[in-house]
């Protein structure tokens, strides 16, 4: 075979050396992959063990929950704690409150946020950057600062302890996020569609309702879910703005330890059962729409 002057070594030499390579490479990759997997298992345990632990503890009897040493699996799994917590928390009322408050506020946030996001994305108007900047920068304000005057005003207006008042505060809290996420989505819809609608004689509102909204049902749903979850988990606002048990939401109930009568110990299995009752309704949402939720979280962080 004639030697090619541009090649430092012959192709046949490469061919010969090849069979020896895969073994070395795969051995190297095997140990590296194994190491990554081992580390990942540690990470997953760190992330999921606390949740596993409340599920397991909630299935134990009150004796086993306090027993030493703690058992990794319940010896005699029982659901006894759950009816007790459901009754003592008045769970169904609190669940309804949570769904109503988180649901309504998320809905209003998506509608108003979507309208604003559409205008910010498509129109130029006096005060645009001022308003957009205000919405985004106001996310940095701590709730604790706002809540004092809101509490005093609500007290004067007799809005304390009402679900509508709570929804109003939630909406104010979630609007910037809704605008951010929906803006990043609406901005990616081609403008040609707007132009086509404009040629057909559509105004701002008609374009929004006939072109943008049908295209952004998925984005709106994801935004709704993200806001719903954050409303579901909100503690500080309902903690300060509601008083009576009738308006209490689930996160507030977490502060009340259901105590069995005549037993003077911390009821770990009941606290755990309560925790599971708060978290469980969210799990299907997480599993079914994981990818979309992550896209939404990212859209809310990178603007």
């Amino acid at each position: 075979m004639k030697k090619d002057p541009t090649m430092p070594f012959s192709i046949s030499a490469l061919r010969i050396s090849r069979p020896t390579m895969p073994f070395g490479v795969s051995a190297l990759r095997f140990t590296r992959t194994t190491l990554v997997y081992l580390l990942l298992i540690v990470v997953i345990i760190f992330l999921l063990f606390p949740v596993y632990w409340i599920v397991v503890t909630s299935l134990k009897t009150s004796g086993e929950a306090l027993a030493y040493p703690p058992s990794l699996l319940p010896k005699a799994p029982t659901l006894d704690g759950y009816p007790y917590v459901i009754q003592s928390w008045n769970y169904w009322v609190s669940l309804t409150n949570t769904i109503v408050v988180a649901g309504f506020s998320a809905l209003i946030e998506v509608i108003l946020g979507g309208m604003a996001a559409y205008a910010f994305s498509r129109a130029t108007f006096p005060g645009k950057s001022l308003m957009y900047g205000f919405l985004i920068l106001s996310m940095a304000l701590p709730w604790m600062v706002e809540l004092g005057p809101i509490f005093i005003t609500y007290n004067k207006l007799h809005w304390l302890d009402t679900r509508a008042g709570l929804v109003a505060v939630f909406v104010a809290g979630g609007l910037p996020f809704a605008v951010l996420v929906l803006y990043s989505f609406i901005n990616s819809i081609p403008r040609e569609l707007d132009d086509a609608a404009a040629i057909d004689g559509c105004g701002w509102f008609e374009t929004l309702f006939r072109v943008i909204m049908p295209l952004s049902t998925t984005a709106s749903t994801v935004t709704f879910l993200l806001l719903f979850i954050s409303g579901w988990n909100e503690f500080l606002l309902p903690f300060i703005l509601t008083v009576t048990p009738q308006t209490r939401v689930l996160t507030i109930r977490l502060m009340e330890y259901p105590v069995r009568t005549g037993v003077n110990v911390i009821p770990y299995e009941l606290i755990s059962a309560g925790g599971v009752l708060v978290l469980l309704p969210l799990i299907p949402i997480l599993i079914l729409s994981q990818k979309r939720l992550i896209e939404g979280i990212l859209a809310g962080a990178f603007k």
């Binding site: 990554v36 997997y37 990942l40 990470v43 997953i44 992330l47 606390p50 632990w53 409340i54 030493y68 040493p69 703690p70 108003l112 309208m115 129109a123 108007f125 205000f134 919405l135 106001s138 940095a140 304000l141 701590p142 709730w143 604790m144 600062v145 706002e146 809540l147 004092g148 005057p149 809101i150 509490f151 005003t153 109003a168 505060v169 104010a172 609007l175 605008v179 105004g203 701002w204 929004l208 979850i229 988990n233 909100e234 503690f235 500080l236 300060i240 996160t251 977490l254 502060m255 606290i271 309560g274 925790g275 708060v278 978290l279 799990i283 997480l286 599993i287 992550i294 990212l298 990178f302």
Partner: protein
């Protein structure tokens, strides 16, 4: 054209501009204003009111009168406030740095082209979806000293002592950081995964061809490209941590003693438990200024780096 209309317009040029602007922009303002006004009413008005309250001695029973800067002077002589301030600074820095470092490591591990991506997604989303108050309760059960699982793990590892997770002042400070890191590290990881996926693979592969090993590729190629993401994470997380309330309230209520009393909790006690609105507002203003200072310093860095 109505002649009377034309007359008015000619007489009032400013009105014309306004009217034309209104005619042109009213649909836009109808779309934007509900969101902006709603947000304005619930943020700017309470903010102004907080500043006003901080200059008065208002409380639940006292309608309050103007007392100038007395609240601020009292705050400067308030030892409990300074201890709170120290705890807040410690907590914010530790939690933010730990979250960012761990989040970066988790993200690097999860982007190694392995199977089970959707499982990783769910594993990350579950702590993210746990309410901060629930996170506090969950870890409280695990921190339990006598028969808690964490102390059992310590024992299984061969150590012959129990860690007083929430009863020891120094350990309690660590415990609130652990809970916060567990709660927020998923979010950081998700952001870093997105940042890592945004880096063009060719660049890293080129470095590998040039003979850079895994650490060098990370140190000199991947990490410099991740700096914008890291700055974003540090900014958003530190602003979040500085106003932490729920985990601390749920786990230790500021105790033992005042070891974990964080600024937001201190403001909460003054305002909503003692009903000293004036003094509470003063503490809130300090909280506000710290948040604005963090945000401002990052914004300044960003502004300078963009000009250069």
């Amino acid at each position: 054209m109505n002649p009377s209309n034309a007359l008015i317009i000619n007489d009032h040029p400013r009105l014309t501009v306004f009217w034309k602007g209104f005619k042109k922009f009213w649909p836009i303002y109808c779309l934007v204003m509900p969101a902006v006004l709603w947000r304005f009413i619930y943020t700017i008005i309470p903010l102004v009111e907080t500043f006003r309250l901080s200059l008065t001695n208002t409380s639940l029973v006292n309608p309050g009168r103007f007392i100038g800067l007395t609240n601020f002077i009292n705050l400067m002589h308030d030892d409990r406030f300074f201890s709170t301030f120290g705890v807040t600074v410690y907590f914010t820095i530790t939690a933010t740095l730990l979250e960012t470092a761990l989040g970066l490591v988790f993200a690097l591990l999860m982007t190694q082209k392995l199977r089970g991506q959707s499982f990783f997604n769910v594993a990350l989303l579950i702590p993210w979806a746990v309410a901060p108050m629930l996170a506090a309760q969950v870890w409280r059960i695990m921190f339990y000293e006598n028969a808690g699982i964490l102390n059992e793990i310590v024992k299984m590892l061969g150590f012959h002592f129990t860690i007083p997770f929430i009863t020891d002042p120094n350990m309690a400070k660590v415990s609130i950081v652990i809970v916060t890191v567990w709660k927020n590290v998923s979010w950081v990881t998700l952001i870093f995964i997105a940042g890592l996926k945004g880096i063009q693979r060719e660049i890293v592969e080129a470095a590998a061809v040039d003979g850079a090993n895994a650490w060098q590729r990370f140190r000199f190629v991947t990490f410099p490209l991740l700096i914008p993401t890291t700055v974003l994470v540090l900014l958003l997380r530190s602003m979040g941590e500085v106003q932490t309330f729920e985990q601390v309230y749920g786990l230790t209520t500021g105790g033992p003693g005042a070891a974990t009393k964080i600024l937001a909790l201190y403001a909460f006690e003054r305002f909503f438990q003692e009903f000293r609105y004036g003094y509470g507002a003063t503490v809130n203003i300090v909280l506000l200024f710290i948040t604005v200072a963090i945000g401002g310093s990052f914004a300044w860095r960003l502004y300078r780096s963009e000009r250069m």
